[in-house]
Amino acid sequence: MLRGLLPALSLALVLIAIAWLNPRAISYFGFNLMLNLAIPIALATIAQMFVIAGNELDLSIGTFVGFVGCVTATWLRDAPLGGILVLLGAIGVYALLGALIHLRNLPSIVVTLGMSFVWQGLAVLVLPKPGGKAPDWLLAIMSFKPPYVPFPILAALVIAIVVHFGLMRTSYGVILRGSGGNAAALRRAGWSLLKTKIALFALTGLFGVLSGMALIGITTSADANIGNGYTLLSIAGVILGGGEFVGGRVSPIGAVLGALTLALAASPLLTFMHIPPDWQVAANGAILIIVLAARVLISRRER
C-alpha cells in the first residue's frame, strides 16, 4: 500500500522542499517556469514505460527524441507532408525493431544501444549545426496559457489519464501488460507475442515522437544532441514511478509523477538550495538511489 504511494510521496516531498525554500515558486508563473521541460520528459518517460512493460529497455530513446527534434525544426516546418511521413516512418522503424527483437530473441539493450548511434547520426545529417525553427502551430500549442492551472500540469494530467486509460483500462492494454507478466501464459491462451512486442515498441516510438515535438515546441530550435539526457531521465522516471524492470508492473500515472519529480528536483530545487548546476546530474542519481532504498525498506517491512 505504502509502496503504491511512493511516487506521489516523492513528488510531494520535493514540492514541500521548494515551497519551504522559496514560497513564491509555488504559483502559476512559478510552475510554468519550473516545469518548463516537464512535458517532453513525461512523454519520453511514458515512451520508455511501454518497452519496460514488455520486459525490454530502450537505450536509444534520448537520441531518438533528438532526431525527432531535428526533423521537427526543419522538415516539419518546411515540408510538413514529408516531415510527417518521416516521423511516421520512424515509428515504423520502432515497430520493426520490436519484431526483430522478438523473432531473433535479441537483447534489447544492445540493439537499442546500436540504434542510439543510428538516430544520432541521422539527427546530425538532418541538422548538422544547431538551429532550425519549430512550426508555428507547435509553438502556439506549447505556449498555451490556460486559466488557473499552469499548462505543464494540465498537460501532465492529460497524458497520465490518456495513457492510464489506454494501458490499464482497455482490453488490449491487459494483453500488453500480460506479455510482461507471464509471456508463456499469454501464448498458451493463443495471443501473438510478436504482435504485443510490435505494439509496445510502436507505442514507444509514438511517444518518443510526441516528446521530441513537445521539446522543440518549447526550445523553438533544435540541436542534434538536444535529447541525449532523456534516455537516462526516462528510465529513472519509470522506476521512480513505481515501475519494475521485469514482470510488466508499470504505472502510467506513477511514470508521469516520476517525470515531474525529476524535472523539479534536477534544476529548480538545486537552484533554490544554491547548489551549483554541476551537481544536477548527481541529484538525479541520488534521488533514484534514495527512492530505491526506500522501496527495499518498505517491501521488507510489508513482508
Binding site: G178, A185, R188
Partner: protein, 487 residues
C-alpha cells in the same frame, strides 16, 4: 464409426523427443464426450507432454490427432481453444501483475469493448461462486498477491468460464496440488457435475484416491507409453500402483544391521516453521530420507542446510563440507554450455589446480574416474553435457557431488524422470559411499526409494511430523503422517 464421432479428442501413435530423451513413444489416447479420464503415472512418465499435445502447446514429432472425428493437420493452441479444449497447466499460468478479472480477459478474446471489465469480473466471480462457494477472492485482487491455493482456484475457475468459445474438454493437471482438502473436494464434485452435464475432463493427479473416485476411465502411463487403460471400477489402488511400475524393479535393500551406532554428528537442523522440538539429525555414514507430499518443506530444509554450510544460520548445525545433487537438472544443475567433464569438475576446482591454474589433465582424470565408476555412457567426456540422455546427465550431477570433498551429500529428489536401470546403479553407489562414512540427506517423492534410508523424516506444511526408523517404515505410515492432522 459412431464411437469415433463421440470422441472429443483422439491421438494415434503420438511421439515426442527432447534431444536424446524420448518423452512419448507411440501413444494412443482418447477422451469421449461426458467422460472423465484419469491419467496417472510417475513423474516423467510423459503425462504432461501428452497433455501439452492435446492442448496444442506442443507439436507431436509423429502420429495424428483428431478432434470430434476430424483429423487436425495444423493443430495449435488457438485451434484447440476454438474447438473447446482447454488446459489448466501444472505450472501456474496467471499473469501475476494482472487482476483476477484481467486474467480472465486473457482467455476470452471476445471480452472487449465498453464494460468488458465488469463483464470479466462478473464472469469469474460467478464461476468462483459456483465451484468454491466460500472462496473469498475479489475480482479486483492482483493475482500475484493471492496465496498459491487461491491462485489455483482462480485458474481452475477461469478454465470453466464461458463466453463465445465452446467448452467441451478441460484438462486438469494436478488441479488440487495447492488446495486444502475442503476446496479440493469442492473442485472434484464440480468436475463430476460438469461431466454429468456432458462435458469431458482429463484429471491428472498423484493422489490416487482422487482419480479412483472421480474418473470414469483410468489411463496409466510409464516411460512415454500407455501401459494400462480400463474403466475406473476395474482398478484399485494396488493395481494402479503395480501398473505405474511401483512394484516392479522394487528391490528391498538388504536390511543388514549396518547401523554404525552413533557416528559423528554431521547435521542438526530444525525447519524454520517447526514449532515443537523436532529436528533432523544426521550422523556420519547415515542415509536419511525426507518424505511427505511434494513441496511440503523438504527442499527448503535442504537449501537451508546448504546455505548453513557456507554461513552460520540459526537452528542449523553443519559440521562438514556439503554438496547438493539437484533434482530439477535444467534449472538447478546443468551448465548448458559446458562439457560433461567441466560439469563434473566445477564443484572440485580447488583440488584440480596446479599452482594458480586449473590443470586440464587432472580435470580429465577426475571425469574419466567417474565415467568408469558411475557408468556415464558417452564416447568422450569432452562432449557437451546435452549429448547425454537425462539419466546420464543425472549421473554426471552425482559424479559432481561424489567426486567433491563433500562429506554431506544433499539429494533434492534427484531421480525424477530417471530410468530404473540408472536408479538401481545410483542406489548401490549411494549405499557404498555411505558405508565409507559419507552422510546422505535424500528427499524423494518416490516411496520405494526410502527403503534405502536408515531414517525417514516425514514432512507436512514445512514441519517434521514423524521420524521413522527403517524397520518401522511402511508406505501406510508415511501416508498417514503426510495426510494426518498432526502438526
Amino acid at each position: 464409426m459412431l464411437q469415433a464421432i463421440a470422441d472429443i479428442v483422439r491421438l494415434n501413435g503420438a511421439e515426442k523427443h527432447f534431444g536424446a530423451v524420448r518423452a512419448l513413444n507411440g501413444v494412443d489416447f482418447h477422451v469421449g464426450a461426458g467422460e472423465c479420464v484419469g491419467l496417472v503415472g510417475h513423474n516423467g512418465a510423459g503425462k504432461s507432454t501428452l497433455m501439452h499435445m492435446v492442448a496444442g502447446t506442443l507439436r507431436p514429432d509423429g502420429g495424428q490427432i483428431a478432434v470430434r472425428g476430424n483429423a487436425e493437420t495444423s493443430y495449435s493452441v488457438a485451434r484447440a481453444l476454438e474447438l473447446g479444449i482447454r488446459c489448466v497447466f501444472q505450472e501456474l499460468s496467471l499473469c501475476p501483475n494482472l487482476s483476477v478479472a484481467e486474467n480472465t480477459r486473457i482467455n476470452h478474446p471476445s471480452l472487449t469493448g465498453l464494460g468488458w471489465r465488469r463483464r470479466a469480473a462478473d464472469l469469474i466471480r460467478a464461476k468462483l461462486d459456483e465451484i468454491f462457494p466460500d472462496h473469498g477472492i475479489s475480482a479486483d485482487d492482483i493475482a500475484g498477491d493471492l496465496s498459491i491455493g487461491r491462485r489455483q482456484m482462480v485458474e481452475v475457475a477461469r478454465a470453466f468460464t464461458l463466453t463465445r468459445e465452446p467448452l467441451h474438454l478441460v484438462i486438469l493437471d494436478e488441479p488440487t496440488s495447492s488446495l486444502d482438502a475442503h476446496t479440493a473436494g469442492q473442485l472434484l464434485s464440480f468436475v463430476r457435475r460438469f461431466v454429468g452435464q456432458g462435458g469431458s475432463c482429463i484429471l491428472i493427479s498423484h493422489v490416487l484416491g482422487e482419480v479412483l473416485q472421480n474418473a470414469d476411465r483410468i489411463v496409466v502411463m510409464r516411460d512415454g507409453k500407455v501401459v494400462a487403460a480400463d474403466a475406473a471400477s476395474a482398478f484399485d489402488r494396488d493395481r494402479l500402483v503395480a501398473a505405474m511400475g511401483g512394484a516392479e524393479g522394487h528391490r528391498k535393500a538388504p536390511v543388514e544391521a549396518r547401523k554404525a551406532e552413533a557416528g559423528a554428528l554431521r547435521v542438526r537442523a530444525r525447519p524454520a516453521r517447526q514449532e515443537d522440538g523436532k529436528e533432523l539429525v544426521a550422523r556420519a555414514g547415515e542415509i536419511i530420507g525426507l518424505a511427505g507430499l511434494a513441496g511440503h518443506g523438504q527442499t527448503d530444509l535442504l537449501l537451508a542446510i546448504f546455505s548453513a554450510a557456507a554461513r552460520a544460520r540459526a537452528g542449523i548445525e553443519v559440521t562438514a563440507p556439503v554438496a547438493l545433487v539437484a533434482g530439477d537438472r535444467q534449472s538447478d544443475g546443468i551448465f548448458a554450455q559446458w562439457s560433461i567433464a567441466q560439469n563434473i569438475g566445477i564443484r572440485s576446482l580447488a583440488r584440480l589446480r596446479n599452482g594458480l591454474l586449473i590443470s586440464p589433465r587432472r580435470e580429465a582424470e577426475l571425469a574419466e574416474f567417474w565415467k568408469q565408476k558411475i557408468g556415464i555412457r558417452t564416447p568422450d567426456m569432452n562432449n557437451n553435457i546435452f549429448s547425454l540422455s537425462g539419466g546420464n546427465q543425472q549421473k554426471a550431477l552425482f559424479a559432481r557431488a561424489l567426486g567433491s570433498d563433500a562429506e554431506i551429500v544433499l539429494m533434492d529428489d534427484p531421480m525424477r524422470g530417471v530410468d530404473i536401470g540408472t536408479k538401481l546403479e545410483v542406489y548401490d553407489l549411494v549405499r557404498e559411499e555411505a558405508a565409507k562414512g559419507r552422510t546422505f540427506l535424500w528427499y524423494t517423492t518416490e516411496t520405494e526409494e526410502l527403503d534405502n534410508c536408515d531414517h525417514v523424516y516425514v514432512f507436512k506444511n514445512g514441519r517434521i511430523v514423524a521420524n521413522l526408523r527403517r524397520d518401522e517404515l511402511t508406505e501406510e505410515k508415511i501416508i498417514q503422517s503426510s495426510f494426518g492432522d498432526a502438526a
